[in-house]
Symmetry: C2
Subunit: 354 residues, 2 copies
DNA sequence: GCGGTTTGAGCAAAGCTTTTCTCAAGTCAA
DNA sequence: TTGACTTGAGAAAAGCTTTGCTCAAACCGC
């Protein structure tokens, strides 16, 4: 970067050794002001719409900026105002099925407010997380959104000083922090009440690992609702396994063997549900006539490809991201310091399986 | 933001109306210098490792920075150096199955070079794309990586001046641009040669829409290789449809009806392959004994859940992202202006289906 | 025609760091 | 002891924009 030669080109003089002038100088506010015949201060006010001036003057500045293709230097602005109009989005798992929609929802809400998203993937590594946080601090981000793959509470970010932070999908263990989560109990309620409404009474619950809060929470609510209705789960208990189709298939076999007269499965996710559906199909069980199935997640690839397409619960992840972003903006503007947990309701998506 | 009161707190004086001092002033290089008893210039040199000074002095500055929790203001640095240490990642589809691994690969390579990623999702909307580009320009990004969901060439970005740009996965239509793409022909070659090596000779090709370059390219290469081996495709032609399991199931039925003695399917993606596998399974056809199946994409959710697990082609999307990032860095440093197309080879993943 | 407003625009400081120059003090050899 | 270097550190400019303050000119009513 030869500042000298680019300076001469700025003046409009022909640069003889133009080869060296690889990076042509961007036009600055000074250039715009000069072309419009005003001072930089006036030019700044004209472009930002602030200050008072003859409409004609403002027009001249705008024209000049246009003609020169002027684009304000955000670094200079940020340096002056102290705001970077940037938020960091820290995702602890490598941007998976859950964090992506959250991320998009957040970007959507932030983009509307002229805020950009700096992406930080920690891959679950504490060192990497700390590294990214340092960078975010150096870049003076206005706020941070933390998201992850699990609904289990995570330890809060450390060493970020007073930077506003919101936890999305994976809440913080600190109740003082702002967290936005999915209403797992509500989702289970939608599913179970739907099945009860269809007249099903011998319902089995097959879900993921017991050490996942998502599995536990949904199972607990399911059993609770059944008990409220004077029912017991088909097999007397919830079935914990992993989140895979293979587990769904195995569990379906086991449940059918134990209680052949059961009439519905509520599954902890769509993969398990699809595994169940495959097994029922192979056994010639009619879905939903003989046995109904409700999944969870509304993961289209699974839910739509299953035979029959799955009735399932949608967590509205985009909405979680959007609300997290809005909460963050509120925190940044410090208008409303509403801390604590926000819960986003689920939606029941009815297809053919129940 | 009351600059006045925060200034007084900077001086270490107790601030009486501390309530107003919501955002405590960050410590600046000035503060570090003062504490270390040196000038800002010296402090800067000490922290950056440049300049010459007594080791003792440097140590004093480092200690002071540590004690004050100093974190340099990147905006000020960028303003001075003209580099933002940021690249924009423009993705034209809403961060899908293909762009995510590319994105992660790129972030990985860039992060190592202290460069952060600014995420821009255009959702396929030209207006939104232009909007994001303007923002990237204002933020003075050092470069841009463009990625998308399709392998079809896309029109180059416009209005970004001389900002270094690399197209990943979705190449630019302009051959002067730097693009990094997957070797579709190579992927098809791996698949077909694997099947030929297994002694299969009556191979059917079922793939996605004809207007997708990925489908056309793989099909063309497949037919070419079969012809080279003195063979014709089982049904005499490639079968174009969509990328779904449903299409895979339908196509399998049709192919089996037309040529019951065929012995292998090469499918344009894993979803189609899974559809094919499901149909074969239901018809009691043994896979791979009777008929072998090779998929494409190595999408674990599909490939591993299929019965049997799918042999498939992995495009190494992370590598595409990494190479794109490296190419971008080279372009930024202007050391090697190697323009043109880079092709990333695929890998054959052998599982049970072939 | 005169004092008091309003209006339009410029000046200059501030925001934080890097880097080039300059300069004083110390070192070494003759 | 003196002159030529070397070393360590400071002063100041540059990078670009925003904004509070100042000031001159035009305008108003009387």
């Amino acid at each position: 970067m030869d500042r000298g030669s680019s300076l001469s080109s700025r003046n409009g003089l022909p640069v003889s050794d133009s080869v060296r002038d690889v990076a042509p100088a961007r036009t600055r506010l000074t250039d715009v002001a000069a072309r419009a015949g005003v001072s930089v201060g006036t030019a700044s006010k004209a472009l930002s719409g602030t200050g008072r001036m003859r409409p004609e003057t403002r027009e001249r500045v705008l024209d000049a900026a246009d003609a020169l293709g002027f684009s304000p230097n955000r670094h200079a602005q940020s340096l002056h105002t102290g705001r970077s109009w940037t938020v960091g989005l820290v995702t602890t798992d490598g941007i998976g099925r859950f964090s992506t929609p959250v991320l998009l929802g957040a970007e959507d809400a932030l983009g509307a407010g002229k805020i950009s998203v700096l992406l930080c993937d920690t891959r679950g590594d504490a060192i990497r997380e700390q590294h990214h946080l340092r960078i975010l601090i150096e870049r003076r981000v206005d706020g941070i959104i933390v998201t992850g793959r699990r609904t289990d509470p995570r330890h809060p970010l450390t060493g970020i000083g007073l930077i506003p932070t919101v936890y999305a999908f994976s809440p913080s263990t600190d109740p003082q922090d702002v967290s936005v989560v999915s209403d797992d109990a509500g989702g289970a309620t939608l599913a179970v009440e739907h099945l009860l409404g269809l007249g099903r009474t011998r319902i089995a619950h097959v879900t993921g690992p017991r050490h996942h809060a998502a599995a536990r929470d949904r199972a607990a609510r399911t059993l609770e609702l059944l008990a409220d209705a004077g029912l017991a789960p088909a097999t007397g208990r919830a079935h914990y396994g992993d989140w895979s189709e293979a587990w769904g298939r195995r569990a379906a076999e086991a449940v059918l063997r134990a209680t052949p007269d059961m009439d519905a499965f509520f599954c902890g996710n769509d993969q398990i549900a699809r595994g169940v559906a495959d097994t029922l199909r192979e056994r010639g069980v009619r879905v939903p006539d003989d046995i109904a199935i409700v999944g969870y997640d509304n993961w289209d690839t699974m839910a739509l490809a299953a035979r029959p397409p799955l009735t399932t619960i949608d967590m509205d992840l985009g909405e979680i991201g959007r609300i997290a972003a809005l909460r963050l903006l509120a925190q940044i503007d410090a208008t409303t310091p509403e801390a604590g947990l926000a819960t986003v309701p689920c939606r029941l998506i009815v297809r053919e399986s129940a």
